[in-house]
């Protein structure tokens, strides 16, 4: 156990074991998969209509976004900063949910063979879900952002204030820890990934703040946020491919390493 916790020697064994045990999840997930398919037939027509509308709206937005992206790239080039390369997205289906009340993780139906790697960010259509922590041949394990051991470096979208978002084990609650009472964080603030960890791509929505309280006698604010991704419901997820080399070192040169100072750094410009 010490070897597993402190070192990476057992990764090979873990990976082999998850390859062996993931099929069990496929079996136990069958009732849910079947319900999904049946419901799918019932709602087919309705779903089709609403998806057409959604497709139209999104493609209109995509046209606009494309123009903005081009403009952004030109401006970045003018500023001399590195260009943001958006990685390819790999789609995977959830084949199992780990039934442990103290941990939050999922099993995905894609693994090593499909190019999944450890540390890969996982998103759904609404926001960040988590990251891959174990990769088997045909399956992988995803640690969700709500797991008590997961920490996501985020920015407050409104003012670029940097902080660390901790999971709590509660599916509907995340916490910003070590934020001083002078910090400008309000209810309804959107938290997005900062990308400073070099693991999650920057700018993806993660959570919305729903309560900010100062408890008497406590040095830090108690800030709670609700995850945006449908952590318990989404079945089809996107895995973002590794960001192109060059993005990370450049960022590390220009930005002080916020991740190492436990989020107690001052507010951004």
């Amino acid at each position: 156990m010490v070897a597993d916790h402190q070192t990476r020697w057992l990764d090979v064994i873990r990976s082999a074991l998850v390859t062996a045990t993931a099929p069990l999840y496929v079996v136990t997930d069958q009732p849910y998969a079947a319900t999904e398919i049946l419901l799918g037939y019932v709602r087919l027509h309705q779903d089709n209509l609403s998806m057409r509308q959604q497709l139209l709206t999104l493609s209109l937005e995509a046209q606009r976004a494309h123009a903005l992206f081009e403009e952004n790239e030109r401006l970045r080039a003018l500023l001399g900063s590195s260009s943001r390369v958006e990685g390819r997205v790999l789609f995977a289906e959830v084949i199992g949910i780990v039934p442990d009340p103290t941990a939050r993780s999922l099993i995905l139906g894609k693994g090593d063979l499909h190019g999944v790697f450890e540390g890969q960010p996982v998103l759904d259509s609404d926001g960040l879900m988590g990251q891959v922590v174990e990769v088997g041949r045909h399956s992988s394990r995803v640690l969700l952002i709500t797991d008590p051991t997961h920490v996501t470096p985020v920015l407050v979208n409104r003012n670029d204030y940097r902080a660390l978002l901790h999971g709590t084990g509660d599916a509907a609650r995340l916490e910003l820890r070590h934020v001083p009472e002078t910090a400008d964080v309000r209810v309804d603030d959107l938290l997005v990934t900062s990308g400073l960890d070099g693991r999650f791509p920057s700018g993806y929505p993660v959570a919305v703040v729903y309560s900010v309280e100062l408890e008497p006698g406590e040095p830090f604010l108690s800030i709670r946020a609700r995850p945006l991704a449908q952590l318990e419901r989404s079945r089809h997820l996107g895995l973002v491919a590794r960001p192109e080399a060059g993005v990370l070192p450049d960022m590390l040169l220009t930005v002080p390493p916020a991740g190492t100072t436990a989020g107690e750094d001052e507010a951004g410009p």
């Binding site: 916790h5 045990t21 069990l24 999840y25 079996v27 949910i97 039934p99 009340p101 103290t102 008590p148």
Partner: protein, 163 residues
Amino acid sequence: MKFPDTLVIWSTLLLALLLTAVRLPVGTPEILAWLRPEWGAIVLLYWVMAVPQQVGMLTAWVLGLLVDSLTGTLLGLHALGFVLVAFVGLSMYERLRMYSLFQQALIVFVAIALARLLGFWADVLTRGATWTPMVLLPALTSALLWPPAFTLLRALRRRFRIA
């Protein structure tokens, strides 16, 4: 035709693993997740008690590793717990066979509670878990499940003439 004993035993252990992986629909109350019995430990304890010369610490360890992989816990956490359960079973299987189902269930509770506490302790060290009496709930539900599980597994053992 007689099936090999190992095959039958591992089939039941596989079934226990499957039950471990079953999840409840989204939206069921949290408490139900805590009530989940330690299926692996129940089945393991039965076989240790019934055929201690065939099922022992090694089986317990392998089964525990599989459960660790299944639940994503620290590799060895369930393995150690299950080895402990098997040890309890091995050290008193002769007495266990004499006990009534109720007395056996009591031992099941103690053995699984010990394993859970061991696992919880590892969780505290590695993930900073906080104590809640819920940690012991699976031991309780496992003990309650012991009589039916015992009856079923004994019927199976007699059917396949494992001794």
